[in-house]
């Protein structure tokens, strides 16, 4: 904390220092003591008050902190004798921000700036406030003011950035950019520019307005020298020329870029584009929504005259030859790949020969085929070829004598050939026995090459690691084709084997977590996920591997951790992002200012974030669905968001349903005696209509459909497109009808069942159906278990909440005495309905618990032999299990000297039985957690029955 003339906030620094020290060492009680003493001497000092508020906030006393802050604010506003300085205001600002009252901090600064209109320090503080509030217009105004007061370049640039933000992230029109340009022009005329970042802002401003000529002129002038790295200036110049349509000049400049950076593939593509009068590659990635640019770039200007095309493309060839001759660095790949691109362009322009492209590909293979990145390098070219040519490449590759001098290179080339085979889709057409042979060859190659990695540190990637991932993929394909679970087990085994040898291979872990999830071993899948140590921004980019499965699982506590960590990360970032933006302003890295704001907006649009925001409260509802806590439900209402609109409606519909149910008996009176607001029932109807629309039906048609399925007139698959959605609809429909009684039962010739009956029958029908189709977990991976879990933890739970609410309202309230007659009759009918519904739910869940217990017992009894029996090689030596057998042979004949100690020891620790046991235990754990949920449901339903 800074101080002037030994004063801090108008108080001698020596009096304040003990407080600062105590805060820094987190001794808040002590700090508060010192602060109270200080306040007794300076009772009206806003700074002393701000310190007290800061301490209180740190101690978790938010309310007290706020009231002290407000007191300080009052002093600032009303007491003319107090000092107003940035130290006081910035301290208050910290507290206000932590208390989510940014607006109050802003008004303090606004007030101070009004009082001392020329204080730069205060204006900077105010600017900072506006940055935090994303008030771009106000940022611009205050920046201009600062610029006028001191005339510094940086404040002008702050204003220019604020204008750009209005256009890019706010609702400012493009013509605002003209204003920004004018401001800069005027400043440059009198003061020039002194920072490279300022220049790049200026040029980006012109570029955005398509004033390429102006931008080029500036770059060529004195200001251009601000860009100190020659090649950066050339890149910029080339881009501007291309965008201006001056392709020939652009190509000349880009050629210079490539002479300086011969390995720059992106700029080679730009260069070739410009040679062929096509600058479209420069427009990619500008304003696009994807973080991944398109893989295939289309070409424009295909109507170049033949002779022009020929001259230009041969110029490219000659230049590439020259680059190759000049660079002696064996790791430079770009000029070699350039030859493939040239052949590809020739084909696009109808002047090529696919044979030549194949030839170039083979050339590239002979040079770089051993590299792990070979296949991704040539992917675009391989996919460009037609099927016969693709097959030709594969044949040629397979025919290559892999005579590479080093074993690692030969291994790399062999892996590449497998990868190419996979990429061109050849595997889909292979017969089962060949496919199996392929997997075996891959695993065999892995085993045989283990000695190559003998001297590698555990930290280093082993040679041939990809072979096991590829073999795993082949086995999964075999499983899909044959439905033989043995292949699935074997695919798991080989990855586990690979991880036994080196436990860090994340690629195996990701594959494994999907395989375990699919086989209903979610706890094991989640363990592997945790071993990836996914944190910070990886939560956004990696957690989708596990989140969807967890959302439909009974592993609530793990799911809760997952959602909490992820949301905390995102929300923390949204909170601190503006501070980092201000940091970029302060360090004059203006391009980063725009980038940071846009990045925050991108993260806010993350669909995973929306899902987590909606699902976190729904999870809470699921966990608490055995007893009503209205307050909680009320808080979980979410904004309606199109793509997850249906899920976002849930909390509100549950809330409304509970109210409707509780008012079903006593006319317009709720259980707690308060009057029932008929608007709630109307709202529920509106939401039901919307919900039906999302399910794809008008309200009335949706009702007809569920009635039809319930009565057996329509097939049960009619609801299978979104079963959980439909049953939820039925549950809420009943709740709404309890109050509105709009769905009549005898208005037509056919008597209709009550909506209670509708819920009972559909819930029971589908729960039993899904339970039966789930089958024994061990032999039927995939399956309907997640669906069954969701049926019980969602619609059934919501329905039991509605029952609970009805039961409560039917209890004698004590205050009012009931009168006999019609009401009582209705009540008794109603309580029968409730009884029936409870009975029906209990029956259904009981069947599930019995089934679960039987399954768990079975799993506990399962000997690993049973699991191993899935791996049966038939009489012809085919079927799953061959690779595992190979591993066992390898282990039984371990040669320490060939493999080295580390690998030998790892091999010895391999335990296939343990993996089999893990599969059984993982499934058993999922079932047990689900069983616990079911049992608690039965218990709470039975407790309700005793109230009736």
């Amino acid at each position: 904390m800074a101080s002037k003339f030994g004063l801090a906030g108008g108080i001698p620094e020596r009096r304040v220092r003990p407080i600062w020290d105590a805060i820094d060492s987190r001794q808040f009680k002590n700090a508060l003591k010192h602060c109270t003493a200080l306040l007794s001497k300076y009772p009206n000092s806003p700074y002393a008050l701000a310190l007290k508020a800061l301490i209180l906030e740190r101690m978790g006393k938010a309310e007290e902190a706020l009231s002290v802050c407000l007191n300080a604010k009052d002093q600032l506003y009303t007491n003319d004798s107090v000092l107003i300085d940035d130290l006081t205001l910035s301290t208050l600002q910290i507290v206000f921000q932590r208390l989510d009252h940014l607006d109050m901090a802003t008004s303090c600064y606004e007030y101070a700036c009004g009082k001392f209109p020329n204080s730069l320090e205060l204006m900077m503080g105010l600017f900072n406030c506006y940055v935090r509030e994303y008030s771009f217009v106000k940022q611009q105004q205050i920046a201009i003011k600062m610029y006028k007061v001191v005339g510094e370049e940086r404040f002008l640039l702050w204003a220019v950035c604020s204008i750009q933000l209005q256009v890019f992230c706010g609702n400012g029109g493009e013509k605002l950019l003209l204003l920004a340009e004018g401001l800069l022009k005027k400043h440059i005329a009198s003061h020039s520019l002194h920072e490279p970042e300022a220049l790049s802002v200026y040029i980006s401003l012109l570029e955005r307005q398509s004033k390429f000529g102006d931008a080029l002129e500036i770059l060529a002038g004195k200001l251009g020298s601000l860009i100190m790295i020659e090649v950066d200036r050339l890149r910029l110049q080339g881009r501007l020329l291309a965008r201006a349509g001056d392709y020939s000049a652009a190509a000349d400049i880009l050629q210079k870029v490539l002479e300086l950076c011969p390995d720059d593939w992106e700029y080679f593509l730009h260069y070739l584009g410009c040679l062929l009068d096509d600058g479209s590659s420069f427009f990619l990635g500008n304003g696009g929504n994807s973080i991944y640019p398109p893989k295939h770039v289309g070409c424009k200007n295909l109507d170049l005259p033949d002779e022009v095309f020929d001259t230009r493309i041969s110029r490219a060839s000659v230049f590439v030859e020259k680059l190759m001759a000049e660079c002696d660095n064996a790791s430079i790949r770009s000029p070699h790949l350039a030859n493939l691109e040239i052949q590809k362009r020739k084909l696009i322009y109808g002047k090529g020969d696919p044979g030549k492209l194949v030839e170039e590909l083979m050339q590239y293979f002979s040079r770089f085929g051993h590299l792990a990145c070979f296949t991704s390098d040539v992917e675009a070219f391989l996919l460009f070829l037609d099927d016969p040519n693709k097959s030709e490449v594969l044949e040629k590759l397979k025919g290559c004598e892999l005579t590479s001098s080093s074993q690692t290179k030969a291994l790399g080339q062999a892996i590449t050939i497998f990868k190419v085979e996979n990429l061109i889709g050849n595997m889909f057409s292979l017969p089962v026995c060949e496919l199996e042979g392929l997997a075996v060859r891959m695993a065999d190659m892995y085993c045989k090459n283990l000695p190559v990695s003998k001297d590698l540190d555990l930290q280093e990637n082993m040679h041939g690691e990809e072979l096991l991932s590829m073999a795993c993929n082949v086995l999964v394909q075999l499983f899909w084709r044959t439905r033989n679970v043995g292949y699935l087990l074997e695919s798991i085994m080989i990855l586990e084997f690979g991880l036994t040898i080196r436990r860090y291979t994340w690629q195996y872990k990701i594959l494994l977590l999907h395989l375990y999830s699919y086989w209903n071993c979610l706890p094991v899948a989640y363990d592997w996920y945790k071993s990836l140590d996914v944190k910070n921004i990886l939560l956004e980019t990696v957690s989708h591997h596990i989140l969807p499965q967890m959302l439909a699982s009974p592993l609530w506590s793990d799911l809760n951790d997952l959602l909490r960590d992820y949301l905390k990360f995102m929300d923390d970032h949204f909170r601190e992002s503006a501070d980092l933006t201000f940091l970029a302003y302060r360090h004059r890295n203006y391009s980063k200012v725009i980038e940071f704001v846009q990045f925050k907006e991108r993260l806010q649009r993350s669909s995973q974030y929306l899902v987590a925001k909606i699902e976190a409260p729904i999870l809470q509802l699921k966990q608490n669905a055995n007893s009503i806590q209205e307050e909680e439900i009320k808080q979980t209402e979410e904004n309606v968001l199109k793509n997850i609109e249906k899920r976002s409606l849930l909390p509100r519909m549950i809330y409304l349903s509970i109210h409707c149910a509780s008012s079903s008996l006593k006319e317009h009176t709720e259980a707690n005696g308060s009057a029932f607001d008929p608007k709630l029932s109307l709202e529920l109807k509106v939401l039901l209509e919307r919900y039906a629309r999302i399910l794809g039906f008008p309200f009335q048609d949706a009702i007809e459909l569920v009635l039809g399925v319930s009565s057996g007139q329509k097939p049960s698959e009619a609801l299978s497109s979104d079963l959980i959605g439909w049953i939820n609809f039925v549950v809420f429909l009943n709740a709404w009808n309890l109050n509105s009684r709009e769905i009549g039962f005898s208005n037509n010739d056919k008597p209709r069942p009550s909506t209670w009956h509708l819920v009972n029958s559909l819930l029971k029908k589908y729960i039993i159906e899904k339970m039966r189709s789930t089958g024994p977990l061990l032999s039927s991976p995939g399956g309907d278990l997640p669906m069954l879990v969701q049926l019980v933890t969602e619609p059934l739970s919501w329905h039991s909440l509605i029952i609970q609410s009805s039961v409560r309202s039917s209890l004698p309230s004590g205050k009012k005495k009931k009168k006999g007659g019609v009401t009582e009759q209705a009540n008794s009918h109603h309580s029968h309905e409730i009884q029936d519904s409870i009975q029906s739910l209990c029956d259904a869940i009981k069947e599930v618990t019995e089934w679960l217990s039987a399954q768990i017992n079975k799993l506990d009894d399962v000997k690993f032999e049973t699991i191993f029996s899935l791996l049966q090689v038939n009489g012809e030596g085919q079927g799953p299990g061959r690779i595992l057998h190979m591993f066992e042979n390898l282990i039984s004949s371990v040669d320490n000297t060939a493999l080295g100690d580390r690998i030998s020891q790892a091999l010895q620790s391999w335990d296939a039985v343990e993996v089999a046991r893990k599969v059984g235990a993982g499934q058993s754990s999922v079932l047990s957690q689900f069983l616990r949920i079911c049992e608690s449901k039965i218990k709470s339903l039975q407790a309700l029955r005793t109230h009736l």
Binding site: I291, K295, S331, S334, L532, N536, I537, N589, S591
Partner: protein, 174 residues
């Protein structure tokens, strides 16, 4: 095949395949963004065809007087692109910027004392072990402070190894 350009925020959403490697630390957001906000010239990413991320380097420039220096905070290369001298290219770039644009005296970096492959690589790139920092990593493992002198340090004073190890609280910078 390396297009090296400034690292930008969107790259944070694309570098998972590099960062899932267990030796590559994924820092919190304010760490990355502070580097981007303060030293954007020291944060570069290398891309392969198809705009795949090959690796990246992050660093900073700091210090006073003759200890004004470039610092490598992290350099990492995806397994798919190893053994192609990419780390060297990225390091050279950072050294170049420290040398020519910021006129620093030297570049330094910290490495786990046990990470022999990395130490060997840095030695090949011209770095020497300047001093040992006791229990630098989470209070457990020692770190090595390695340095390479730049053209401004004509007499190469900055890299004369210290005779004794130091403790983390003796370090001038974080």
């Amino acid at each position: 095949m390396t297009t090296i350009r400034r690292f930008c925020c969107n790259d944070l959403l694309r570098f998972a395949s590099v960062n899932l490697d267990h030796l590559t630390e994924t820092f919190n957001m304010s760490f990355y963004m502070t580097y981007l906000a303060r030293w954007p010239d020291y944060f570069h990413v290398a891309e392969a065809p198809g705009n795949r991320i090959m690796g990246y380097i992050m660093g900073k420039v700091e210090g006073q007087g003759e200890s004004w220096h470039g610092h490598v905070t992290a350099v990492t290369v995806s397994p798919e692109y190893r053994r192609q001298q990419l780390a060297k290219k990225l390091m050279n770039l950072l050294e170049d910027i420290s040398d020519k644009i910021d006129k620093a005296y030297f570049v330094d970096l910290f490495v786990r004392a046990s990470n022999t492959p990395a130490i060997k690589m840095y030695e090949k790139l011209g770095y020497v072990i300047y001093r040992r920092v006791l229990r630098y990593y989470s209070g457990e493992e020692d770190g090595l402070d390695m340095r390479k002198a730049l053209s401004r340090d004509v007499e190469k004073k900055s890299i004369i190894p210290l005779k004794r190890p130091v403790t983390p609280d003796e370090l001038e910078y974080d």
